[in-house]
Symmetry: C2
Subunit: 314 residues, 2 copies
Amino acid sequence: MEKNDLLAAHQRIQPYIHKTPVLTCRTIDDMAGAEVYFKCENFQKMGAFKMRGACNAILCLPQAARSKGVATHSSGNFAQALALAARLMGTKAFIVMPSNAPAVKKQAVLGYGGMVIDCEPTLQAREEMLHAVVAKTGATFVHPFNDDDVILGQSTAALELLEQAPSLDFIIAPVGGGGLLGGTALAAHYFSPRTVVIGAEPFGADDAWQSKQAGHIIPQTNPQTIADGLRTSLGEKTFPLIRDYVQEIIRVEEEEIVAAMRLLLERVKIVVEPSGGVSLAALLRSKDAFSGKKVGVILSGGNIDLKTLGTYFG
Amino acid sequence: MEKNDLLAAHQRIQPYIHKTPVLTCRTIDDMAGAEVYFKCENFQKMGAFKMRGACNAILCLPQAARSKGVATHSSGNFAQALALAARLMGTKAFIVMPSNAPAVKKQAVLGYGGMVIDCEPTLQAREEMLHAVVAKTGATFVHPFNDDDVILGQSTAALELLEQAPSLDFIIAPVGGGGLLGGTALAAHYFSPRTVVIGAEPFGADDAWQSKQAGHIIPQTNPQTIADGLRTSLGEKTFPLIRDYVQEIIRVEEEEIVAAMRLLLERVKIVVEPSGGVSLAALLRSKDAFSGKKVGVILSGGNIDLKTLGTYFG
């Protein structure tokens, strides 16, 4: 993935995505002792940065393949993103979801025009079902993060941020599978080498921290966190980016995630999902490291229902 | 107030305010059957458009007057706005507040560095106290809305919106004292005469609707609405603007305000105060009138505490 690949991805997806705004908040600046720039991917189409990668992956397919559709297995934001991106581009999305996925997640995919294919809730059943769907439909499998075109799509959030808030000393992004953090690291590497990239993840799903310490991928086995977007393991395409271009992974407690969500709601007036609160939580936990600096904080998404939000603040 | 006065106000206050973003949301577009552009003054400094007018009023004072400070009576957003604007400009703000105003409102003003002066909760006591404060300190009284410089400041929200979302067919703004709606009407009149300006207010505080019907100001006597920013009567400087340049006032029910706030929270991922929900409520209530059109909706502010927010959606 070269410098020009990032620019090309951005140009390619621009008609399909929002250039999300960057917000600032004096109260949080005072609390953090830093200048904080929030990149609001909670305002992205379908509510999360995943839309960027999904669009780029579909747009990179040759026309013949594109017309047969795309397929993935996911019960999270990527499923919705691929469904919406496919609809916008006039093709089909086949989404394999475990039969025990929440009904609201299936409804969301259906609402964006995706086709939901149920499978047993095991890794093996999921992969078998995906193979069957691909064999039957000719659709192209798009991995939620372990895919160059997806990573390039995700890199565009940081690309925009670096332009909207110049001279950042740091960018903090949450890390699940590593698509967003890997893409962010690439964007800083090519377009603002002095900007240090930091990952943020929950203690209860700290495979990225462990993998970076170990120097090889340590899979996430039993994630325990409300940040449902960050429960996945790194992939062999995302890990090297994080190993080489990310300075550090900061881990945060669950209560810190909720406190960050609350601050964003009360002070910045925005709704973020738990995964979206993790990067601010990391900044506030380690604020000495960022003192007096310009810090970009990527808020990854805002897909949380009001009922769940209410349980955090009730 | 001439065309150039609006431009001058915008240039004057720019260093002190946020150019707030404009957000769009496909779900709401589909519901409304229109292209909707939300001007997010809930992200304005101190959380509401009032910051614009407060800044302009202080900046228009001669230096000698400015150094003696400013004074107002308010227990709402204007009190906080004047306090913060005064602090940013290195002067003092004296805020006369009824002794029964919520402690949280006083704390907010104190937090922005304002001086709070208690008075009995009557109109007479409030005015007497204000006179006494002005006499003693030499501060200049700034009315929350019935003031040309304040109206000019408020006009800059629509000025930005017209540039951020060109070719609007309509702009809807809420109306309390009429500073925002009057300023919005002026901005459209001078810079986009084809854009029709509509006011929005609760049935429980419909003095603007009544005044427009009657052709003269009918004061608001017993307002019954959760939209605390919209309980005031029009002033003699704002009424003529609304009479001459606003096409219509749409009134909404309390449940429609709550439903609009909920939609904005769930779908746009943003927090608005009840007054901020009123303009979207008006759009959805009268959607036939806006069908297929480009509609700017000014979201006036976001100052609501989570506890109150929770009571609406609990």
